[in-house]
């Protein structure tokens, strides 16, 4: 059934198959024998065309054999065969028409046809139209790739012919799209081209814009009168599109005006005319200003030793006599108008999509900041302890993930192990830090800052000593590879989605612990009034220790998540510490929603500045910090400020 269908579409694509009954492949090959033997890129075209035009069903096979250098010619009568080497060193020949065995021949009696790469490329182009209807889906896709890479007028007709018989939906969609794109560029009928352009107007694809751009390409034309051509615009000298200098350069290039004497050319002329230390009477040693050099040059001009300088008045006079136009290479105004409109529509939609993409980026950055800051929201926000080693807890978490991956090769399993393990490791580290250092400094916040900073540099150096200075990989499981592609502009990698979800989970976890558990209740009681809490039977030391451990543990899990997309180094913690504190401070200390708002604001602002100045991410961070410093002026206690007694001091 399938064969029948293919045979049918073959018959449709090559309408004149009736001819096949009367002529053989050998006849066609013999008719082009001279060209085939010459096998030159410049002359082979008609031969290939003749082969294709013959419409014989074996042509595809013949072209493939020719391309693969398996076509041989018998010297005696000049007939072409395909040949395979026999065990005894002779070649077994088969004819192309029926595949009949026509006996063997010695290598000396045969000539192998060796088309060079240029000829083979032309054969490949000719083959594309056969491959478009090939039974193999992969071959059809390859053929489409090849056309899309290197579209040609000649391929439009076979492409159109192949659409009708297409059975595969994906390939059909690609064929249709390619046909539209090629129609707008190559069709001979203006109405068809305009229709194709209008069909796809507003499309987001890069290929669509890439097809329109050559249609809209312009050349600059200098002329005294309005040229008879498809004019894109008349240029006004001195505008942004055409500066005065550029306009004059065009005139010079067209040979319509003399070349301006540049300072370098003037100096070279002066140097060439130094005679006994003087140039046209001026002492060379005194030519140390522009004015003096101009005067000396003018003196040379007066003696007919140099070309006169072009004055500004000369330039103005020349420019006034000419008009400047941008002229489309495309002659049809209907096509260029439609293309302009379609491109404008596309650009609007691209801009909208870019805004959406920017929003996603900002969201993703915000969730990273939130993730890095949420542990801090507990230790700093709730307990009021400045932990400068927080960044190093993030780093410890990431290194835990790396170590687990060294022992557990399956990335999915290793991530599942490393998340609780990272929590355990950093929880323990946090508890140790609280018991050994922070506990003794609760009433001296500035000293907590310094002591934990000491811990931070010690941990950082320790990690450097253990793991070295080079970045360590933390590979994400395969199901997190790749990206969710919405269209050609908007896409987001799965890892960033995972981090966003993780951030939401942490938010829920934080709220649950603080509002719904005994630990959360005790934590809130101890932070508000430790003595009162103690008199209610709560052990403040234990609560502080556990809360600090919890905040540190969450930092460890955040470290695993951050390590999945950023490099794991001993310095990764310090990359996040200032931003994390900013996030908490801007958001408002002691309120998780504030941290969320802070992360969203900082992430959004940073991406926004990057969008306005995409080449410069450093500038974005600088402006973000200036913005934060100014923001703090107006809301010193952050976006969501605690009020009343809870605000404390």
């Amino acid at each position: 059934m399938k064969t029948l269908l293919l045979a049918l579409c073959f018959a449709l694509s090559l309408g004149h198959s009736a001819l096949a009954q009367t002529r053989s492949v050998q006849d066609v090959l013999q008719s082009q024998r001279a060209l085939i033997e010459e096998s030159s890129r410049r002359t082979i075209g008609p031969a290939i065309d003749a082969l294709v035009a013959s419409g014989l069903p074996q042509i595809q096979k013949v072209l493939e054999i020719w391309q693969a250098k398996d076509m041989w010619q018998r010297k005696a009568d000049g007939l072409f065969f395909t040949a395979t080497k026999e065990a005894d060193g002779t070649y077994r020949l088969r004819d192309f028409d029926q595949g009949a065995d026509v006996g063997t021949a010695a290598a000396s009696d045969l000539r192998q046809l060796k088309p060079n790469s240029g000829v083979r490329a032309m054969i490949a182009t000719a083959l594309v139209q056969f491959q478009l209807s090939d039974p193999d889906v992969a071959k059809r896709a390859d053929a489409l790739d090849s056309i899309a890479r290197d579209p040609e007028v000649a391929l439009l007709a076979p492409l159109r012919a192949s659409i009708k018989g297409e059975t595969d939906a994906d390939i059909l969609a690609r064929k249709t799209r390619l046909e539209r794109l090629m129609s707008m560029a190559y069709d001979s009928d203006v109405a068809t081209r305009v229709a194709a352009i209008n069909d796809m107007s507003g499309d987001l694809g890069v290929d669509f814009r890439a097809t329109l751009n050559p249609i809209l390409s312009v050349t600059r034309v200098v002329s005294k009168t309005r040229p008879e051509a498809n004019i894109a615009q008349k240029l006004i000298v001195g505008s942004d599109a055409l500066t005065r200098d550029a306009a004059y350069a065009l005139l010079v290039a067209a040979g319509d005006a003399p070349v301006e004497i540049t300072a370098d050319a003037r100096d070279a002329t002066l140097e060439a005319h130094i005679d006994g230390g003087r140039v046209a009477g001026f002492p060379a040693a005194q030519l140390s200003t522009e004015v003096a050099r101009d005067a000396a040059y003018d003196a040379l001009v007066a003696r007919d030793l140099a070309a006169p300088r072009v004055t500004q008045a000369d330039i103005d006079a020349s420019l006034a006599t000419y008009r400047f136009f941008d002229v489309y290479a495309e002659p049809s105004q209907a096509v260029t108008d439609a293309a302009e409109a379609a491109l404008a529509a596309s650009e609007t939609r691209v801009a909208i999509s870019q805004a959406a993409d920017l929003g996603l980026d900002a969201l993703s950055l915000a969730s990273i900041y939130f993730l890095a800051a949420i542990g801090l929201a507990i230790t700093f926000g709730v307990m009021g302890v400045i932990n400068m080693a927080h960044g190093e807890f993030i780093m410890m978490g990431a290194y835990t993930g790396y170590v687990v991956q060294m022992f557990v090769p399956n990335h999915t399993v290793s991530i599942l192990i490393s998340v609780p393990l990272a929590f355990a490791v950093t929880f323990a580290a946090g508890v140790a830090l609280e018991r050994l250092v922070v506990r003794w400094l609760y009433h001296r916040p500035l000293e907590t800052l310094l002591a934990t900073f000491g811990v931070s540099i010690a941990l950082q150096q320790l990690a450097k000593n253990i793991f070295g200075t080079q970045a360590r990989p933390l590979t994400s499981p395969p199901w997190l590879d790749g990206a969710w592609v919405i269209n050609d502009v908007v896409s987001i990698s799965y890892i960033r989605i995972a981090i966003f979800i993780l951030a939401l989970l942490f938010l829920a976890l934080f709220l649950f612990i603080m509002k719904r558990t005994r630990l959360g209740l005790e934590t809130r009681a101890v932070t508000q009034n430790p003595r009162m809490a103690a008199s209610m039977g709560i052990n403040p030391d234990r609560v502080n220790m556990l809360t600090f451990g919890l905040g540190s543990g969450i930092a460890g899990i955040a470290g695993v998540a951050i390590g999945l997309f950023a490099k794991v180094t001993s310095e990764m913690g310090s990359d996040y510490i200032v931003q994390s504190f900013m996030t908490v401070v801007v958001g408002g200390v002691g309120n998780i929603w504030g941290t969320l708002a802070g992360a969203a604001m900082i992430g959004g602002f940073q991406k926004g500045v990057e969008f306005l100045n995409p080449s410069n991410t450093l500038a974005a961070q600088t402006y973000m910090i200036i913005f934060i410093i100014i923001f703090i002026q107006f809301r010193p206690r952050g976006i969501i400020a605690l009020k009343g007694r809870a605000a404390g001091d």
Partner: protein
């Protein structure tokens, strides 16, 4: 007035005498004027250490006496270095360019010289035009004024914004840290006009000076010693009078001082700006000895180390800041310079290049926990007398 101030602070005299003695000894042992026992590069290390002591005094004034833990004073230090570096680099490049161009057939025009200097300085960031901030780079006097003015004005604006909205304590510390991070990120851009991450280089060469580095290094050493002496005198005088009492009051209980009718913000702003100016001068003396300045110098970590030095030396006493800075930075360069002997433990050899920071970090924790008065506290123990004002 001055007599009584010195009389009330004998430690100032002792410090100045020791500093003078130290300067004389180093000069006598140097390669430039003495017997050559101390190498030129070590003279530079000592000179740089003196500059660090100067900024440490400023840090002590703002932190130890006023209670504001600024984690951004290296921004002012770096700015001072950049300001003097602009002049040094411009003048030296101008001489090189003029020499090169004067070999041509025609004498160079001012425009050619300007373009040549621009290409030399900014070629590395793909530009040849002078940014606006280099407008006065050819004037030594103006750039010298900028060494004080630029950090001072930045501190004035930043401090006014911060103190006005009553940002205090750790919030202020983090905000100052953000300031220096912002400055360093800004300077890292090529578009900043200060050569991006290349920074300014060749600063050890004084334009128009043919004396060898062994002599120039001593000039800078003397200048650093003089600046440290003057800075010490100035800060000691500031903290000894009524002004000193008020800022100590702010450190100990800000609200109470405010209720007594003092304008706390003005005092804080004055101290913040003054210390920024001192930091700028220290930086302007430091970087010609270092030879190069780049944006990494003003990264937040530098300012935190400054706090570490002052804390280890002992806050709230000026000689403590000097001792802490000199001790930690010299020991630090000894350990990280690879001169310290490795400790073989049999199964593992402790290389100090790797382990020094761990030791520093942990000793810093220890000092904060167990010796909040730092090394200066040891002097108290020796003297067996307490300074109640610094409690």
């Amino acid at each position: 007035m001055n007599r009584s101030f010195i009389a009330r602070n004998p430690s100032v005299l002792i410090f100045l005498a020791l500093l003078a003695l130290f300067t004389l000894v180093v000069t006598g042992l140097s390669e430039g004027f003495g017997i050559g026992f101390i190498s030129t590069s070590f003279v530079k290390v000592l000179g740089k250490t003196l500059c660090l002591c100067l900024i440490a005094i400023a840090m002590d004034l703002i932190w130890g006496y006023t209670g504001i833990l600024s984690l951004g004073h290296f921004a002012f230090f770096g700015l001072g270095g950049y300001m003097i570096g602009m002049w040094l680099m411009y003048e030296r490049t101008r001489q090189i360019v003029e020499n090169a161009l004067s070999e041509g057939v025609l004498p160079p025009t001012p425009e050619e010289i300007e373009t040549g200097i621009g290409n030399q300085i900014f070629g590395v960031v793909g530009s040849s035009d002078f940014p606006l901030i280099w407008a006065f780079a050819d004037s030594f006097v103006l750039q010298l004024a900028f060494v004080v003015l630029v950090p001072g004005i930045l501190a004035l604006v930043f401090g006014w914004l911060a103190f006005r909205s009553r940002v205090t304590g750790v919030y202020l510390s983090i905000l100052t840290q953000a300031m220096t991070l912002g400055l360093s990120l800004y300077l890292f851009q090529n578009a900043s006009g200060l050569r991006g991450n290349n920074g300014l280089s060749g600063l050890q060469n004084l334009p128009g000076v043919t004396a060898p580095q062994s002599v120039v290094s001593l000039w800078f050493f003397w200048a650093s010693a003089l600046a440290l002496a003057l800075g010490y005198l100035l800060v000691a005088w500031v903290v000894s009078g009524k002004f000193g009492s008020v800022i100590r009051g702010i450190r100990d209980n800000e609200a109470r001082v405010r209720f007594l009718g003092y304008s706390v913000e003005t005092y804080k702003l004055a101290v913040f700006t003054l210390t920024a100016c001192i930091s700028g001068i220290a930086g302007a003396l430091y970087y010609p000895q270092a030879g190069i300045i780049n944006p990494a110098e003003v990264a937040p970590i530098a300012s935190i180390y400054l706090a570490v030095w002052v804390a280890i030396g002992g806050r709230g006493r000026l000689y403590g800041a000097v001792i802490g800075t000199a001790f930690v930075s010299l020991v630090s360069s000894w350990f990280t310079g690879g001169q310290a002997p490795d400790v073989p433990l049999g199964f593992y050899t402790v290389k100090w290049v790797d382990w020094w920071l761990v030791l520093l970090g942990l000793s810093f924790v220890m000092v904060t926990l167990y010796a909040p008065k730092g090394i200066g506290g040891l002097i108290d123990l020796l003297k067996r007398k307490r300074k109640d004002a610094d409690a």
